[in-house]
């Protein structure tokens, strides 16, 4: 089923979606999502991040933590990457909570030169010297059987430092995406697969269907926490060629789908209309607005409208019929 067929044929789900945004209709457990105001990247929010981690029960004392940002290109005029300040604040929060090791790792999908990724000097200068930076494109992959059933791939080669970490924090940039509509903490996990096993781009995953591969990967590789950089996101022709979109918020949750759903709503999309988020809701909680226990700032305070390519306009909140 392609995206267009999905959108045409999902009237029942859209009905649920409409209800899902109605306060109080959700029965069952609630999943915490914290929104932290970060008006610009100069503000130190490491204490707020540490407080959110603690409130969410993310135990880091003595743990090996891997921060997985979206850090794939360096363009001064395009907010492509999770900002170094957000990564640095998060690393500082992990160290404050007693993490034994903190590393920042990334395997960009279209470019193999790590200087444009986590080995970029801008990140080195922002980070505590105790934090290591890992080029996950050129490292050993651990063969992990596919726990999903969508892509048809037998397994994934997941970067060894990801598998060795006790805690993996997916730290995407809040962006539109020219193949999937939005890219947030679930899509960000493509970057735990070393390019030497898949190539640039990671074509075997495209052959298997990008959305199918996201879903299987998220079932297979660990995400213990999501922290989305929405201080300045990217709208339009993301994930590389779009324009800056100021939002001024971080979105955090131990439930990555719940974080993505809240971020999508802030961006002006209905997560119930984003096919891979709906697919993920079959095994992850938090898609519906009513399933979220909102902490910190009210996300509606930051709600805006990210421009998107025409193909994805049907995913917008206001397009709901």
């Amino acid at each position: 089923m392609n995206r267009r067929e999905f959108l045409k044929g999902s009237s029942v789900l859209l009905g649920v979606a409409a209800l899902g945004e109605t306060a109080g209709c959700h029965r069952g457990p609630k999943y915490p999502v914290t929104v932290i105001a970060m008006p610009d990247y100069s503000r130190d929010v490491s204490r707020e991040i540490a407080a959110a981690f603690a409130a969410d029960g993310l135990g880091l004392k003595g743990k090996r933590v891997l921060l997985k940002p979206n850090f794939v290109e360096v363009h001064p005029d395009r907010p492509v990457n999770t900002h170094p300040a957000v990564i640095a604040n998060t690393a500082a929060a992990c160290l404050r909570l007693g993490a034994a090791e903190v590393a920042v790792g990334e395997a960009p999908g279209h470019r193999r030169d790590p200087w444009y990724s986590v080995l970029h000097p801008s990140l080195r200068s922002a980070l505590d010297p105790r934090v290591r930076r890992l080029d996950l494109n050129h490292c050993r992959g651990v063969a992990v059987p596919n726990k999903g059933d969508r892509s048809g791939v037998r397994g994934f080669f997941v970067a060894a430092p990801v598998m060795a970490a006790d805690v993996v924090i997916s730290m995407p940039k809040m962006k539109t995406h020219h193949w999937t509509g939005v890219t947030l903490s679930l899509k960000n996990m493509f970057g735990v697969l070393p390019g030497i096993y898949y190539g640039w781009p990671k074509n075997p995953l495209h052959f298997a269907g990008i959305e199918n591969s996201i879903l299987d990967l998220v079932k297979t590789a660990p995400i213990h926490y999501a922290l989305i950089d929405g201080v300045v996101g990217m709208e339009g022709d993301g994930p590389i060629m779009g324009r800056p979109k100021a939002v001024g918020a971080l979105v955090l949750s131990p439930h990555p789908l719940a974080a993505d759903a809240v971020a999508a709503r802030i961006m002006g999309f209905a997560p119930e209309r984003v096919p891979y988020l709906v697919g993920a809701s079959r095994f992850l909680p938090g898609l519906e607005a009513g399933a979220v226990e909102q902490r910190g700032e009210d996300p509606e305070r930051f709600a805006t409208r990210f421009e998107c390519l025409p193909e994805f306009r049907a995913m917008r909140r206001e397009e709901r019929g």
Binding site: R112, D113, W115, D135, H138, C139, R140, Y197, W200, N203
Partner: protein, 292 residues
């Protein structure tokens, strides 16, 4: 100029020292220090050691590691543990075997490359390139992309097979993927009507692969992009490729080489990548190991 040449020679010599430090006891080289041996860093280290005139006795463990890592069909994978991934590596293997004069495994590798094809897929209205053209994939059974296709063309050119029908089609693929404003991305020139941005490494590889086989005006915008890259880029990997690619077209890159020496020196030890150092040795040497 003479002083600059001496500085570059010194820099090449200085770069060999940390490169040699990557060689593990078993002869394999990791991408990063402390890692396990992989084919690509071992192959490019072999090429750099050859360029630097290191003795056969010293390169023997690396060559033995590589020959043992080969598959029965003449190809080579990522490492002895992951033998089926990495089509571009067999092209690098052919380049290395050519320079080391290992004719029997070379013939096997080339035959494997000529048998290996990228997948053709239905034309996608969201991309501008011709999906039917056949080149070489990163991973067997998938689509053809700029870097693996360029590596195989470089190998075929070195071996006098530039007019083989596969090479001719490979060149068509590269030209089809060239970004109109100049350069190559990973292999798409545009997505959904939006031209993509060129990369230094893929542009250099494509220009080397096409050198002498297409009219220079067909790649002039790309060469201009690479010249600019050589002048300004700070990335060690992009810079080594820009130097090699531009110099092959007969353009002076002395200033870029001077800059490269400083860039390499500035890399923290634990972030030094074996293939970057190996390529730096080749770039600083000025030896044209990628063209006949």
């Amino acid at each position: 100029m003479g002083n600059s040449h001496k500085q570059q020679t010194d820099a090449a010599t200085n770069t060999i020292v940390p490169l040699v430090g990557f060689i593990r006891a078993d002869g394999g080289c990791p991408y990063y220090r402390g890692g396990e041996g992989f084919s690509e860093p071992t192959l490019l280290a072999l090429l750099a050691l050859h360029v630097a005139g290191v003795s056969k006795q010293e390169t023997e463990p690396l060559l033995a590691w590589i020959l043992a890592a080969r598959n029965g069909d003449g190809s080579i994978g990522l490492s002895p543990e992951h033998r089926t991934q990495g089509t571009w590596l067999t092209a690098q293997l052919a380049v290395v075997l050519h320079h080391y004069g290992a004719s029997a495994p070379l013939e096997q590798a080339v035959n494997w490359l000529l048998r290996t094809r990228s997948a053709a897929v239905a034309q996608d209205p969201n991309v501008a390139h011709d999906n039917r053209l056949i080149g070489w994939p990163w991973v067997r059974g998938t689509f053809g992309w700029a870097e693996p296709t360029a590596w195989v063309l470089i190998a075929l050119n070195l071996l006098g097979l530039a007019e083989h029908p596969r090479a001719v089609e490979g060149r068509k693929l590269l030209l089809d993927r060239q970004i109109p404003a100049g350069g190559w991305n990973y292999g798409n020139r545009e997505v959904r009507g939006r031209e993509l941005l060129p990369f230094g490494d893929t542009t250099a590889l494509a220009l080397i692969a096409l050198h002498g086989h297409v009219p220079e005006e067909a790649v002039s915008a790309s060469l201009e992009f690479l010249k600019r890259t050589a002048e300004i880029v700070e990335s060690p990997y992009d810079l080594v490729w820009a130097i090699i690619g531009v110099e092959i077209y007969g353009i002076d890159v002395s200033r870029a080489k001077d800059r490269l020496a400083a860039v390499i020196d500035a890399i923290p030890s634990d972030e030094a990548n074996c293939i970057h150092l190996a390529m730096a040795v080749i770039a600083l040497s000025g030896k044209k190991v990628f063209i006949p």
